[in-house]
Amino acid sequence: MSGSSRFPSFLRVPAQGLALSAVAALVVVLLDPFQQVFAARVAILIIVAISLNLLISGAGLLSLAGGAFLGMGAYSVTIAAQQFSWPLVVSIPVVVVVTGLIGWVLGIVSIRVSHFYLALTTLGFLTLFQVVLRYGGDVTGASYGLVPPLPQVFGYTLRAQDLAIVAALVASFGVVFARSFLDSRTGLAWRLMRESTVAAESFGVNVTLIRTSAFAWTAAALALAGSLYAFVLGAVTPDSFNLTRTIDQLVYVVVGGLGSVAGSVLGPLVLETIPEVFRGLENYREFFFGALVLVILIASPRGLAGLLSDAWQRIASPRVRAAVRKLGDSGLTIGGQADPGVLLEPLPLGALDGVAAVEYRGVTIAYGGNVAVDDLSFVVRPGTIHGVIGPNGAGKTTALNALTGQVGLVSGQILVNGEVVRSPGGGVPTRKLLRHGIARTFQTPIVIPDRTVLENVKIGLYPFGKSGIIGGTLKPPRVRRSEAEAARRAVAALELVGFEREVSAPVSQLSFGELRKLEIARALVSEPSVLLLDEPTSGLEPEVASEILSMLRGLQAKASRPLTIIIVEHNVPLILRYCDDVTAIAEGTLVASESAATIRHNPEVRRSYLGEQFEMEELEREESQRHA
């Protein structure tokens, strides 16, 4: 860790890019011209694969419009050169930006659409593109396409080698940027969004914005690849950018390995090279190609990257693996220069004196014709731990979800620190809750699966970070300091909850109890004034459950600002032991809301747990006796 301090960390990412480019360029120079064209094609396919991979496995969006954006880049640059004589240094950036904007539009169009239908929508877009091409007359060359003029930069005509080097350069930087992006604040937000949009929104992620920007950036990257592709191909025709080609792109991504940048390099490399090997068996090429795809996917569901990573785990020693990992990481280590209080936007305000931390006033929630919560009113005193209990289906979680915006109110209000956050018309959108000082955990922990503990806690500060996609990828000093500060706070939050593992441990290694603690740390890292816990002890062994609850008790003493904790739970004994006040709900209505000490003896509460039938039979008996 200290070794990297010799090298200015903010140069890491550009340096990695240059190093990889140099290696790639060297390889290209050693090839013969025919191979160089091949290399250029592979490099371009790598760019395409990486972009699609990020979109599909990073953001969870299955798009079949790949061919369209690639084609837009290719055709636009060709038309610009052929018909308007624009120099490449001008046309390429313009094309990339304009295509990015078109991608943005596609993102907006497909906002509410789910997985399979999203694929169909993007397919529709691809078709539209094909229509435009085929009916473009002289502008697009219709079905015959166009022939781009020789690529020229400042009078110098690019040869195969030059094209290949440029493509290799772009691909190399693409690889480095993609890996760096995945570690960044926005990259993590994409991944969290893929796991659960609710969780992402709870931590301030603007899901709509992310989806549209994911489309936009992918379109831009594809357009860049496309502009190079035009010259590598030597001609642009509609058939190069049709459904079949788009499916090929997907095959490369999946066979390479969804979710793996290395896979997106391997996929095109292997799948383009091997058929060259089969060239002798020209007639059987496609057969073997198809068989290859099948065999790879059977052998390893995570594709080539999966195979490679398994082999790597087995062959390389831990030290070698650690060294390689260090070479490749973008250097967001904990030891970086942290500046307390700087470079993060201000954290939310705390509780006000004399005002209830949370208040439900006559809250009624209904859906599907059922009244889930009926005229619920109770108050949570600031700085207390407040338990919410009730039998199954009582409406506890629904009431909680109303506060966080997953469910709407039919009538009533919910106030936090005196401010109305939820009313029948609407309220504070879920993604703004963190800024209002309201944080939550989930019934089943929702974490970003292949990331570390630290990254999963840092995401709790997402709304307070200062980097977007570009900043996150390039990681200039500013961003590094901000991330270092976020890391520092994340570590502090983990210590607060008594988390004992190394923060660089991957979350897949955590036990359930540790996951629960991680979720709490993630919620605490933004120093909220209200912490909502949804069944934090379910699934935990009794010792761990008690440990967590007593930790929560201790938090309030340690927290720098008044912290109010609301726990929705089934485990009544634990609630009674650790909470100050308790609200009991049954069948959507309030049964009681008093201090833990007195509620324990409340007969109504007892009844609601042991069976209403008892009470009803008694009532019926009384009734019949009265009429007798």
Partner: protein
């Protein structure tokens, strides 16, 4: 005009048959079979081979058998061999298989288009209105409708059909009722591919048999399935017929090139106006 309409409906019937198979497999296994078109193609070749040696009427037997075998193979590969839980991965695997199938046909039988007579009707044509259509296309439409309605009734009225449906809708309840969910899925694959094979038998006389014959037909099949809401096999057939009819009419009203875009246009229309399809009552889940 009538002739064009009928020939359009005939194409549409094929889309519908493919869509029925796709929908059936999807509902049962949540997987989309991208090699459905290639099943059609191989079945067409089998018919051609049979027709050369035996009476063409017998052709239906090996055709259906091929469909059944392929269905079984797909089931084995997707259920047992591909251990990924990611649907996209399995879909790509079926794409790999489809590539293999196309190439296999290519190097085994060459790329020349093979002519085959209509299964029941030979090469007879019939005058309709002021045009001519092949008898086969009429038979095609009739068989497609009959087969789909029969399948629908099978699902609704027979115990086995209900069992397959039940296993698709709630695998846990089905297992608790003593049904083998695995077997139900295998049956769905087999029937789905049998339908694709049947469509190969019926389509071959119209466009001849060649390795890439399925081409864009499967895509229209997907659109038909989407129109049917991806849940309803009768809806899928109607969707297919509708697409075919629209395509046919477009060749007259507009031009042939533009007519090829009809399925896409309909897809866009469905997505914009009725994303849940015209027939299914199912809600569209958004991410």
């Amino acid at each position: 005009m009538l002739a064009i309409a009928i020939s359009g409906l005939a194409s549409g019937a094929i889309y519908g048959l493919l869509a029925v198979g796709v929908v059936l497999i999807y509902r049962s296994t949540k997987l989309v079979n991208f090699a459905q078109g290639e099943v059609l193609m191989l079945a067409a070749y089998v018919y051609w081979l049979t027709e050369q040696r035996f009476d063409r009427l017998w052709g239906v037997v090996p055709v259906i058998v091929v469909g059944v075998i392929l269905g079984g193979l797909f089931f084995v590969v997707t259920h047992y061999l591909i251990r990924s839980t990611d649907d996209l991965t399995v879909v790509v695997a079926t794409l790999g298989i489809s590539l293999m199938m196309i190439n296999f046909a290519q190097f085994t039988w060459g790329g020349t288009a093979r002519r085959v007579p209509g299964w029941l009707t030979g090469d007879e044509n019939v005058r309709v209105g002021d045009g001519v259509v092949s008898m086969n296309s009429l038979v095609l439409i009739a068989i497609a409708v009959l087969a789909t309605v029969a399948l629908d009734q099978w699902f609704k009225r027979t115990v086995l059909g209900q069992a397959v449906r039940a296993a698709a809708e709630s695998p846990e309840s089905a297992a608790l009722s003593g049904l083998s969910v695995r077997r139900m899925r295998a049956i769905s694959w087999v029937i789905g591919c049998a339908f694709a094979a049947l469509s190969g038998l019926l389509l071959a006389p119209e466009i001849n048999v060649y390795p890439h014959m399925a081409g864009t037909i499967l895509f229209s099949g997907f659109v038909a399935a989407a129109i049917g809401g991806f849940g309803n096999i009768l809806g899928a057939l109607v969707g297919g017929l509708f697409i075919g009819l629209m395509e046919g009419l477009s060749t007259v009203v507009v031009d042939a090139e533009l007519a090829r875009l009809v399925p896409f246009a309909l897809l866009l229309a469905v997505l914009l106006f009725r994303p849940t399809g015209l027939f299914s009552g199912r809600a569209l889940r958004s991410v």
